[in-house]
């Protein structure tokens, strides 16, 4: 077995356990809400339409967006509960994933439940009344048993959807089989992506088959078959969940990471340093850019690396650019005052947004600066990562240089680099520490008007950890210790197509090179 696959298997018990716990809880909760809704909708025609339309509406929201929407919502509710009863709760991870998936599972159950109950023949309803059943007895002894096969068919659909959509809970900080897919996608580790897809597909298929047994049992009034299906589901859930007894205990430190290689590498480095000093650490990867800072400020995660320009624009909402050092100083002061967050210091390199082009193409068009690019932009196509065109940095350079691109396209970063090397787009948004710039023969364009703020990589510490001696001791040696070339090499060792390193290996190699181990 290749080391990549071996490494993937090693993480399977944990990922699978969380995936099963999440999907099963969401489905259970979905059933608990949906069945009474279905009963109410079948009883009362006035609420039938709103209930079914509401469930359909939820289904039209892309599942990733639904998951993401729960984070700010829960943040608000958590803040309110903190004010009211003095206790907040985690707005990241399990809770938003559970709620979104629960909503997502409801439509097939509500729809099939309503249809199933309504399709019981009027003669049988009349008989149930005639023999002296109360409405409740009629529901439980006649309508639900007769609707059971239809309801179970809905539950099957809901289960397959939920298990598939649960992979998307990784970006909101909930470990799932999606961790394989998202980190594989970032590091171009296709084996990992396939592994994640395969595992979640197998899980969905196995669940579907077992639920199918229950459905057939209900339809054929074959109790034995239904019991085998139910027992299979129960045993499967219990077996899958056993690893959580050991994995589930809260780690003493949570290291956050956004969704790209550099972040994974740095998070692994930080985690190892904490463990070297006797702490326990686990990472929460693939956090969205906006989510990461809020997660830190609210104590969801204890430490992560962000970039000064990103914080400047997105957190402080500043558009001016007073220069690298001033930004860093003001940021340190403002974040401490506002949120109690400690900016421990810069790691020593910048990972700035920069626009990059293929070297030959830039030479051919005579483009060296963003001013040159603006003059030619009407005939060029611009590619950005998924968030770039929504970011203030884009607005800033767009206002400063007045671009007028022929077309703009958004990509997942890996594919963005493919697009520029293949000529699908002419210019892309890149990061200055990205190893692929050198490897793909790209050139970054100068920013003579200084529209883009500086992007020093800075270590941020959560408010309740600012006096944590062990954590600070583990991290202080990193400050100012990582030059951009070293970071670029480490990033490339993870991103390249051959001899790929895993982020944890790249982190160790980087520590070794810099004498930090």
């Amino acid at each position: 077995m290749s080391p990549q696959v071996e490494a993937a298997f090693a993480r399977l018990p944990e990922y699978l356990a969380w995936h099963v716990l999440l999907s099963a809880s969401a489905l259970g909760l979905g059933l608990l809400i949906s069945l009474p809704l279905a009963v109410a909708a079948s009883r009362n025609r006035h609420i039938r339409w709103p209930v079914l339309a509401g469930a359909s509406l939820i289904q039209t929201i892309p599942s990733l967006a639904l998951l993401a929407l729960f984070f700010p919502l829960l943040l608000v509710i958590s803040a309110a509960s903190e004010d009211l009863i003095g206790h907040g709760f985690s707005a990241l991870g399990f809770l938003p994933a559970l709620l979104a998936l629960t909503l997502y599972s409801m439509l097939p159950i509500v729809r099939n439940g309503t249809t199933g109950i309504l399709s019981v023949s009027p003669a049988i309803i009349q008989a149930a009344e005639g023999v002296g059943m109360t409405p409740r007895q009629r529901l439980f002894q006649v309508e639900l048993p007769l609707a059971a096969p239809v309801i179970m068919a809905g539950v099957r659909t809901a289960a397959v959807w939920t298990i598939g959509a649960a992979t998307l809970s990784t970006p909101v900080g909930q470990t799932s089989l999606g961790n394989y897919i998202f980190s594989g996608l970032q590091t171009e580790n296709w084996v990992l992506v396939l592994f994640g897809c395969g595992a979640s597909a197998l899980l969905a298929m196995a669940t579907d088959q077992l639920l199918g047994l229950i459905e057939a049992g209900a339809a054929k009034r074959d109790l034995k078959r239904a019991a085998i299906g139910a027992a299979g589901i129960l045993i499967g859930v219990v077996v899958a969940l056993t690893p959580l007894i050991s994995f589930g205990k809260p780690a003493s430190y949570v290291v956050g990471a956004k969704n790209f290689s550099e972040q994974y590498i740095l998070a692994e480095m930080i985690a190892e340093r904490i463990e070297d000093l006797g702490g326990e650490a686990r990472s929460k990867e693939d956090l969205g850019s906006a989510i990461a800072y809020r997660a830190l400020a609210s104590g969801e995660i204890d430490v992560y690396v962000d970039y000064s320009g990103t914080l400047w624009a997105n957190v402080l909402n500043r558009e001016d650019n007073p220069g690298r050092q001033a930004v860093l100083e003001e940021l340190t002061k403002e974040l401490a005052e506002r949120d109690g967050v400690l900016v421990l210091g810069s790691l020593g390199f910048e990972n700035a947004y920069a626009l990059a082009m293929r070297q030959d193409r830039a030479a051919e068009l005579g483009i060296e600066t963003l001013d040159d690019l603006a003059r030619r932009s009407a005939s060029l196509t611009m590619g950005g990562d998924l968030e770039f065109f929504a970011r203030p940095e884009w607005q800033a350079i767009n206002e400063a240089y007045g671009f007028d691109f022929q077309a703009r396209r958004s990509f997942q970063p890996t594919f963005m680099f493919r697009a520029v090397t293949s000529g699908d787009v002419d210019v892309i948004s890149a990061f200055s520490s990205d190893g692929r710039i050198a490897a793909d023969d790209l050139v970054t364009l100068d920013d003579p008007r200084q529209a883009l703020p500086p992007y020093d990589a800075v270590v941020l510490i959560a408010p309740d950890r600012v006096n944590d001696a062990r954590l600070l001791a583990a991290l202080r040696p990193l400050i100012g210790a990582i030059p951009v070339e070293a970071m670029r090499d480490a990033n490339y060792s993870v991103d390249r197509d051959v001899d790929k390193l895993r982020p944890v290996e790249a982190g160790r190699a980087l520590s070794r090179t810099l004498g930090l181990d």
Binding site: A123, Q126, A127, E129, G130, G132, M133, Q137
Partner: protein
């Protein structure tokens, strides 16, 4: 004086502008077999359903063995009244025995007593006992309605209501089941009210025939009393069976 099993007093029910029942009064004693006849939409089924509370009248009173129906919980009332209707309505997910003993189960009879009762009723409606474990789908139409009758009688009701009970059966089955039910009615000293649009069936089975037209009870009496009626509507209802009988006699010869 013994309370009548069923007593309706000036019962009225309207659906919008349509008057389904207009001040209908009716008394049924123990042992009586009453047929309600009349055209479609005359109100005979509405009348039947006011007896077991499936329809609540706007005014007037329905009493069962002296108790006002309106004062009883509907499901408690219905457990005391057998109900048989054309579509049978056997529960497809329950066995024959479970179907028969559903009302006893709702009344909290224990398992042994229910099983014994189900066996007794299979005998009573002339079905083999080994049918107890089958599901309704495996039964013929006639067998299903026999189970329907058994289910109606399971909790030992004093009253049985029947709504076109044999309407969907073939003539031979219908005849046999009608006769068998009539015998049961006598043996158990029931009060039976049967809705039918088939005058011949009413004449053959019932002690009393009540003619319903436009929500009113226009005639009420034994078959021979009705036969002597001068009311044109009643005469029209009796004309068809009379004609049929004459033609049958003519075709089959005097010996028939």
């Amino acid at each position: 004086m013994v309370e009548p099993r069923i007593a309706l007093e000036r019962v009225t029910k309207t659906y919008g502008a349509h008057v389904a029942l207009a001040e209908a009064s009716l008394t049924v004693q123990a042992g009586e077999f009453v047929a309600l006849v009349g055209a479609s939409g005359s109100g005979k089924t509405t009348l039947l359903k006011t007896i077991n509370g499936l329809i609540a009248p706007e005014s007037g009173e329905v009493r069962i063995e002296g108790e006002a129906v309106g004062a009883l919980e509907p499901h408690i009332l219905r457990r005391r009244i057998g109900y048989v209707f054309q579509e049978v309505g056997l529960f497809p997910h329950l066995t024959v025995a479970e179907n028969i003993s559903i009302t006893p189960k709702l009344l909290g009879w224990d398992k042994a007593r229910r099983a014994a009762r189900a066996a007794e009723l299979l005998d009573l409606v002339a079905l083999p006992r080994e049918m107890a474990g089958r599901f309704p789908a495996a039964l013929s139409g006639g067998q299903q309605q026999r189970v329907g009758v058994a289910r109606a009688l399971a909790a030992e009701p004093h009253i049985v209501l029947m709504d076109e009970p044999f309407g969907a059966l073939d003539p031979l089955t219908r005849d046999a089941l009608g006769d068998d039910y009539r015998a049961l009615h006598e043996r158990l000293n029931l009060a039976t009210v049967m809705v039918t649009h088939d005058m011949t069936e009413a004449l053959l089975l019932a002690d009393r025939i009540v003619v319903v037209a436009d929500g009113r009870l226009i005639a009420d009496g034994a078959p021979q009393v009705l036969a002597a009626s001068s009311d044109p509507e009643v005469a029209a209802l009796l004309a068809a069976p009379r004609r049929q009988a004459e033609r049958l006699r003519a075709r089959l010869g005097e010996s028939a």
